[in-house]
Amino acid sequence: MNTMDDEVRATLHDRANLIAPPLDVFDRVESRAKRMHRNRVAASVTGAVAAVAAVAIVVPTVVSGSGSHHVATTTGAATQQQTQQPTQSAASKYALDPTKPWAYRGDQKAIAPATLAKFRHDWAAKHPGSTLQPLWGDIYEPSQQPEVVFVAKVGDSARWGMVMGAPDGSQFVVDSPLAADTVVLPIVAPGDEVARLLAVSAPDAKAIQYAGDGVTFKDMAQIAPGVAVTPLEGDQAIDRIRVIGVDGRTAYQGAVPDSSIGATPANLLKWPTRGTVPNGLLQEATTAYAKSRQQTAAVVQTNVLYGGIDAAGTQYLLAQAWISGDQAASTVGYLKHVDGTVELQLKAQTAADAVLVVLDVTDSPATPTETLVVVPQPTTGQVLYASSAGAKFVPAPADQYGVFTVARDPMARNDRLQVLDGDGKQTFEGAVASQLCGVSGCG
């Protein structure tokens, strides 16, 4: 046993001894467990399905698109098949007509006047002149926020979606075109433990079923007539959903939307927010980004990667930003200098498996060096910098969040970055210039 071993052990035990025992643990645990259980099996089923006879003809095809779910229509014979293609069946009676939408089902609190007005306001900001019509709503227990599935006429076409309340505005989890003869609106929504598959169909559909293995269908828990939910625990490469008509025949069968794209753009970095985001800076950045997209801030969503302030007092943040419904997020840098001037850097889109994102912080044109803020994957061990093609890589200093900074000569050419993971294995090496690409090119 050596000195370092002793001190690590002593530090951990010393810290641990300062932690007071928790109170009321059992009650809290039991409450949480019951909530998890409810969410998993959707046990708190309310309502029952009103059974109305129907014969169906047309069935939609669900097409998972990156960032949104599209429902297109196919017409064909009333047969059922276990393939990756949606099944055709008799169904037009169940189809959603945007001019005569299904009656609202669910909790009236979810569409309380002020809440619905806010949702409609934010929707109209996104789609001017359009008014959303709620089809189903609920107060989602874990967040205590309303969530509403809706349809809306937008000009000559129609869209459908799901909106969730959030402290900073409405979050449109789904915003997709509505194809003719759509029978079911399947939504992969955030869940307490696992994602939920929520399906909204016609009030007179007999049942909505889910097959995690693509074959064995079981009734989803109905939470209102024609509305059902199930935890999404199946294999998403093969799982299927189907709607059963009142005659017991399949009115629709198709793939389940990909949960990875259910609520967020496909290229969202699943990194924690690091650093400190100065007060108000995120709002300013959001507004600036919205302006650049000719949208309002209400429809912008962000994934902040890092925020900080440099020695000269320049506040900055690095984030991904997108308009609700976008298939990919933009990477955005926002700087606010001490003289009040601001700078929005619209960077090239970052891939979901990116190893690093770099922000160029330059305090003034007269500054002899600029600062590269290198925000790497959280598992990164070290970032190294070489000031030219032939120069040796030297470790860059890191802050407590594992974010590295490099003092860079603004005239540098062919300088390079290298990234090592926590085990010392190289995960990236490339030119700095390639990390400073903007939406309109690299430099």
């Binding site: 000195t3 370092m4 071993d5 001190e7 690590v8 052990r9 002593a10 530090t11 951990l12 035990h13 010393d14 810290r15 641990a16 300062l18 932690i19 025992p21 928790p22 643990v25 059992f26 809290r28 645990v29 039991e30 949480r32 467990a33 998890m36 259980h37 699943k270 990194w271 924690p272 927010t273 690091r274 650093g275 994934n303 902040v304 959280p378 598992t379 990164t380 061990g381 890191a398 407590q400 969040y401 594992g402 993971d421 926590g422 085990d423 010392g424």
Partner: protein, 173 residues
């Protein structure tokens, strides 16, 4: 859960929650996250309680859930800084004690800077006092990985400002 099982689980929580909270704290670095992590792990254990036949292994079960949950949070809870630290109570200190506390503060900061996996291994090896084999089993890695990763973690701690050998030796004098 039947009343008998519920009482058994309640007894387990009562007996072990303090120790488990400390382990959660070691993994998260701050008390709010530690409490949340522990509650989540225990809630999952509650749901699985009747299927856990070996009650001697419940600690290991909960610990494994905490490690897995921590990893999944790390992916999902992007609003939480990875190693946010909270304020701990002031401790009265003499001169030597002050040196020791300063050293431990520096060590704690250095531990917080370790990559997640290295930190988990250090916690399991030096706080939980698990063997290399037990640590490997808890994390689902090879014993060789435990050895090499722990060695790298210690090397990183040694290189951390404020934790040079002379600082440690000075504090121990």
């Amino acid at each position: 859960m039947n009343p008998e099982s519920r009482e058994a689980f309640k007894s387990y929580v009562s007996a072990r929650s303090a120790a488990l909270l400390r382990t959660a704290y070691m993994l998260t670095g701050n008390k709010p996250d530690a409490e949340d992590l522990l509650q989540t792990a225990l809630a999952k254990t509650y749901l699985a309680w009747d299927s856990i036949r070996d009650r001697e292994s419940v600690d290991a079960y909960v610990r494994r859930i905490m490690l897995n949950t921590r990893t999944s949070w790390w992916r999902r809870h992007r609003h939480v800084s990875e190693f946010a630290t909270d304020e701990l109570p002031e401790r009265p200190a003499g001169h030597d004690e002050a040196d020791r506390i300063a050293l431990h503060d520096a060590m704690w900061t250095a531990l917080a800077d370790l990559p997640k996996r290295q930190r988990a291994m250090v916690v399991l090896r030096y706080y939980e006092d698990l063997s290399e084999v037990e640590t490997a089993a808890a994390l689902g890695v090879s014993v060789g990985t435990v050895k090499s990763t722990t060695a790298r973690a210690l090397a990183k701690l040694r290189d951390h400002a404020g934790l040079r050998d002379d600082a440690i030796i000075g504090a121990k004098r």
